[in-house]
């Protein structure tokens, strides 16, 4: 080992030790825990068994919850793309001082506690909330229907929580775009719509895809928002694990749910990343 490498390792040693000690170890223990048995009388039984996984994978109750989690995450991602990408483009085209002020408006909510924001949605979506009343007034529903404890409600609130990430991500890739390409297309005779669809959108695609990864993984593992809007009635994977841990006290089962959630998310994210790299390595610099 040369001097440079030695010094380098010396400098990273504290953080590495910290991470091995307090991240890797607990995670390994959780993995182990998910293979432990459990009984309501004895609590955790320190045997090695795949019984928890077998239970989750065979029971349609769990399957439904995991499917719901996936469905919600996909909807949230899709809607975030559909509204976040155009918003980023609109912001990009704004002039100062509007641009800076509205960027504050978009980033601002990221700083506000998720609990406070979700509370706002609970007020908006509840039976007497503005949205059910508005839907009723517009004649879309025969009576004000509460959106609390519904998938729709959870999706709306999660979009609100996560869409700033999409805007930021698309913004970053638009910032790398040469604005002269838009003018070039215009001079070649392209209309505004054509410019957006054929010049801007493809160049924003890396940002949309990486924003999609962020939004998807955060939506799939979100806890506070589905817990408040979905409540006990509409469980997702994370609230299910929470219940197993803090109410049923079946820790091994809860751990197995968490492990499956983690593995699922990591698999999807890694696959997605591979796809992006393969698709775009030729076209764009990393």
């Amino acid at each position: 080992m040369n001097a440079q490498a030695r010094q380098g390792w010396l400098l990273v040693a504290p953080a590495t030790l910290l991470f091995v000690g307090i991240v890797a170890t607990p995670l390994a223990m959780t993995l182990l825990l998910s293979f432990n048995g459990w009984s309501s009388t004895q609590g955790i039984v320190p045997t090695l068994t795949v019984q928890n996984y077998a239970e989750i994978l065979s029971d349609s109750f769990f399957a439904e919850i995991f499917l719901r989690t996936l469905r919600i995450a996909l909807w949230v991602t899709l809607i975030c793309v559909l509204i976040g990408a155009p918003e980023a483009y609109i912001l990009r085209r704004m002039r100062e001082p509007w641009r800076s002020s509205f960027i504050l408006v978009v980033i601002g909510p990221l700083l506000v506690s998720v609990v406070a924001r979700t509370l706002g949605w609970a007020l908006l979506l509840g039976g007497n909330g503005l949205i059910p009343l508005a839907l009723h007034r517009l004649g879309l529903t025969s009576s004000p229907v509460s959106l609390m404890f519904t998938e729709t409600g959870v999706v709306i609130a999660l979009v609100h929580v996560l869409v700033p990430f999409m805007v930021l991500s698309v913004w970053a890739s638009l910032a790398r775009m040469d604005p002269a390409t838009e003018r070039a297309a215009q001079s070649l005779g392209a209309s505004q719509i054509t410019i957006f669809l054929r010049i801007v959108l493809p160049q924003a695609m890396p940002g949309i895809l990486s924003g999609g990864i962020i939004v998807f993984s955060l939506a799939a593992s979100a806890f506070a928002t589905p817990a408040i809007i979905g409540g006990r009635r509409l469980k997702v994977a994370s609230t299910l694990a929470y219940d197993e841990f803090l109410n049923t006290l079946n820790w091994p089962l809860g751990a197995a749910i968490a492990v499956l959630l983690l593995v699922g998310i990591v698999a999807i994210v890694v696959g997605w990343n591979r796809f992006i790299e393969r698709r775009y390595s030729q076209v764009f610099a990393s």
Binding site: A180, A185, Q186, G189, Q282
Partner: protein, 342 residues
């Protein structure tokens, strides 16, 4: 009426005036350069022709048709941007085809014209590549092909060669000129590189602070600069203040040329020669620098520092520290009378 006519154009950004009182006529097939220092309004002028910037005042007409109400995408002009602005997510061929697609040209014809255009810029076999996989010079050619393939009424070039290294630039200059002559496309080039303007253009528009200083052929603006600005901006110039004497105009007491009023003499460094027959401006060589095909000498004279350029043709030259006498022919010098504005 010229093919492209700019009449009394003015562009102001708030209180700042970028272009003022600009009159310019470009004939069909002509190659015109806008030349001037940074910030003099060249890009603004080009953008007004292209339609991306709206003139505060004045009219632009193409082939007798007023352009002011026409959106950029309707003008049918070909533009090469300084950054090339190639679409990074499209192949070279798709880049070139884009303008034709917008014009709803048939598939077969698009393919054929794209091939032609790429062949013209020497990239016949590179159609399948992405811009990122090409060198600066190649990207430059793609941008040129993309602009030319739509058979534009006018080709607008904004410092198209400024991102290339010296050698590539020289090659591209030659090629650009050839392609322009071959296609006969009316061309407006923006540049701050005088060499480029001199080498390429039929006529040069020298701009300064938003105004036109002089319009003329390269030879004219170089040999007969219309103002002191043009003289100093284009090439290098020595200036001496001269006083009248009974025998003619004298610099620091040494008679140099005929004349009877106090004046400023401007003379190009390559027009100054060393003389041995006594009459002239005495001086001492401060530095002598070899520049390949010529020598550059700084000579200290009682009238101020004088730059002398001599061809590297094998004739002996004075060395550093030697005393010399400088002279030039009266018809090579230009005079501006003292007191009149330069």
């Amino acid at each position: 009426m010229p093919y492209l006519a700019l009449e009394n154009i003015r562009k102001a950004y708030g209180p700042a005036v970028a272009v003022d009182r600009l009159d310019l006529g470009v004939e069909k097939g002509e190659f015109i350069s806008l030349l001037g220092p940074s910030g003099c309004g060249k890009t603004t002028t080009l953008q007004m022709i292209a339609g991306f910037v709206e003139p505060t005042q004045g009219a632009i007409a193409l082939d007798g048709i007023d352009l002011s109400r026409l959106a950029p995408e309707k003008r049918g002009l070909g533009i090469v941007f300084q950054s090339y602005a190639l679409f990074p997510h499209m192949t070279v061929a798709a880049n070139v085809a884009f303008g034709l697609e917008m014009r709803r040209v048939g598939k077969a014809e698009i393919r054929q014209r794209v091939e032609q255009a790429l062949a013209m810029v020497g990239l016949a076999d590179k159609g399948g590549r992405y811009p990122r996989q090409m060198s600066g010079g190649q990207q430059q050619r793609v941008a040129l092909a993309r602009a030319l393939v739509i058979r534009p009424a006018i080709l607008l070039l904004d410092e198209p060669l400024s991102n290339l290294d010296a050698k590539q630039r020289e090659e591209m200059q030659l090629e650009l000129r050839q392609i322009q002559r071959q296609s006969g496309t009316t061309t407006v080039l923006v540049t701050h590189d005088q060499q480029e303007a001199l080498a390429l253009s039929d006529r040069i528009v020298v701009m300064n602070q938003g105004r036109v200083e002089q319009i003329g052929s390269p030879f004219d603006v170089y040999e007969r600069p219309g103002s002191a600005f043009v003289a100093t901006f284009l090439g290098r110039t020595n200036t001496f203040s001269a006083e009248p004497t009974p025998r003619g105009l004298a610099v620091a007491g040494h008679v140099m040329m005929p004349g009877e009023r106090p004046a400023t003499i401007s003379i190009r460094p390559e027009k100054v020669d060393f003389t041995t027959d006594g009459d002239g401006l005495p001086g001492r060589v401060l530095t002598r620098v070899f520049q390949g095909n010529h020598w550059l000498l700084h000579v200290e004279t009682p009238g101020g520092l004088c730059l002398v350029i001599r061809p590297n043709d094998g004739r002996p030259l004075p060395g550093e520290g030697e005393t010399v006498v400088l002279a030039f022919r009266a018809r090579d010098a230009s005079l501006s009378l003292a007191g009149s504005t330069p």
